[in-house]
């Protein structure tokens, strides 16, 4: 057999038939099995092996074989319900999501490339591992703080794209999910086999993961209550290229009568809700003032100071668009 490039590291694949079966398999492997659906992040890890051997998975638990399927979009009693394994492309095209939950549709459409949106799932996007270039270097060449090491290589190296709100657990890699800020701004809930979490409480900075989920816990559904009548949401992303890149800053806002929610991502190790900006808006302040408040407390370093002005501009622009006053188009 002619293998091109690097082969995938060997693993067992367990096709779960039910959520219970998936959970049982995960607990049996006690951390050595990972949930598997779209595969665009997990298989990249299995091919390039950025993690030390003891953190690499020996088995994948396939959630796409679960019946009834966890790929669905529906609205019931004013609550949007999206199954965990729903593809991002299906979310971005869905008329229901596009009409009532615009920021989520826009965020889904902003992820990576058409192929990755057709493959990748909503649960996978919000659970993605750190995308830091040091973390991702093949074969654990940088054994950093997120892999059980003691050093964050970015802090003394290239941190141009890293956190402007400091480190968490000695890591300055920002969370790079495009879906995350949309869920935080829309006040979504993340349902697992164990509990229902407010979106804001879903992320953490662990070795090596980015979520608070236990080893035997999987997301089953995302729920979003429809914003009140008249409220509008908006998502904007800044990246080097229009396609494929992870966000360097992204923002989602919801604006309406007595409603103001502002969430940013790619600026801090966890998705960042800008409470200060929301207070300014609720107190009658302008978009400009809110945008400036959103970056209060930022502690950038010399090489990533630029992110502050980009973030401020994105927040202001998103707020103006959500209130119907900003022009669409015109890249940052």
């Amino acid at each position: 057999m002619i293998l091109m490039g690097r082969p995938l590291r060997r693993f067992e694949l367990i096709n779960a038939g039910t959520v219970d079966e998936a959970v049982r398999a995960l607990s049996k492997y006690d951390g050595r099995a990972w949930p598997f659906a779209g595969g665009t992040d997990v298989l990249r890890v299995l091919r390039f092996r950025p993690l030390p051997e003891d953190l690499m998975p020996d088995a994948l638990v396939n959630l796409k074989t679960i019946s009834p399927s966890m790929s669905y979009i529906k609205e019931e009693d004013g609550v949007l319900r999206i199954g965990a394994t729903t593809r991002l492309a299906d979310i971005s095209r869905d008329p229901l999501v596009r009409s009532g939950y615009q920021a989520l549709a826009e965020a889904a459409e902003a992820v990576a490339t058409p192929q990755i949106r057709e493959m990748g799932t909503i649960a996978g996007n919000i659970s993605q591992l750190p995308q830091c270039l040091y973390f991702r270097k093949p074969d654990d060449r940088f054994h950093c703080a997120r892999k059980g090491g003691s050093v964050c290589y970015a802090q003394s190296g290239d941190y141009r794209y890293h956190s402007i709100f400091g480190a968490v657990n000695n890591c300055i890699m920002p969370n790079t999910s495009d879906i995350a800020p949309a869920l935080v701004a829309l006040g979504a809930r993340i349902v697992t086999n164990k509990r229902t979490l407010e979106a804001e409480g879903f992320w953490d900075v662990r070795v090596p993961g980015n979520t608070v989920l236990d080893r035997d816990e999987i997301i089953t559904e995302i729920q979003v209550t429809r914003p009140p009548p008249g409220a509008r949401s908006k998502f904007l992303k800044f990246a080097v290229r229009k396609s494929i890149d992870f966000p360097l800053v992204n923002v989602a806002v919801v604006r309406g009568d007595g409603v103001a929610r502002v969430a940013l991502n790619a600026v801090a190790p966890k998705p960042y809700r800008a409470y200060a900006a929301e207070e300014v808006l609720l107190g009658g302040g302008s978009e400009e003032e809110a945008a400036s408040a959103a970056l209060d407390g930022a502690v950038p370093l010399q090489m990533n100071r630029w992110k502050i002005s980009v973030a401020r501009t994105l927040v202001k622009r998103a707020l103006l668009m959500a209130s119907g006053r900003g022009a669409e188009g015109g890249g940052p």
Binding site: F11, T40, L43, M119
Partner: protein
């Protein structure tokens, strides 16, 4: 219905190791899991090495960033480097070889427009363009740019690729009788 098993394929009623069945370019194939195909075999390896479909390329070592390994899986443009072969049980797969057999106008349009230099990215681009035209038979320039934004051409023949895709859309329209959709 599949029950949980560690073979990565559907277990048949006798409980013997799984078998996966896929349709590739209209032909049906069956592979024994653990024998013909392993759980960790990427779809690209199965299609290239087992079926000899050499249109599948690799420009990015299988990292998901180049699009040159794009195939259609149940109509969805899919990176075959980041797809497990066993995960395609029961699915329909289409590659450029299939389009060549059926005489899809995209191939003619790509060659008429010289929409390649080295040609390495071409099969991936054609499959992305096929997925785009299947969903949107009358794409604007912007739609085409977006639809093909998951593919990279190292030789920079983008302008010709965009024209070729638009030309194929027109050819398909003419084939349908030129009238409304």
């Amino acid at each position: 219905m599949s029950s949980a098993n560690a073979h990565g394929g559907r277990q048949d009623s006798s409980g013997s190791p799984g078998v996966i069945r896929l349709t590739v370019n209209g032909k049906r194939y069956e592979f024994k899991v653990g024998v013909d195909v392993m759980p960790f075999t990427a779809l690209r390896e199965l299609l290239r090495d087992r079926l000899g479909l050499t249109s599948l390329k690799e420009m990015c070592e299988g990292e998901g960033v180049c699009g040159s390994c794009t195939v259609l899986v149940d109509g969805r443009p899919t990176l075959s480097c980041l797809t497990l072969a066993v995960d395609c049980d029961g699915k329909e797969i289409e590659t450029v070889e299939g389009l060549a057999e059926s005489g899809h106008p995209l191939l003619e349009a790509f060659s008429r427009n010289y929409a390649y230099q080295c040609g390495y990215c071409t099969p991936g681009f054609i499959m992305s363009a096929k997925a785009l035209l299947d969903r949107n038979p009358d794409p604007s320039y912007e739609d085409i740019v977006r639809g093909l934004s998951g593919n990279i051409c190292r030789c920079g023949t983008y302008a010709a690729i965009l024209s070729a895709t638009r030309e194929a859309a027109d050819a398909l329209k003419a084939r349908r009788g030129g009238g409304g959709l």
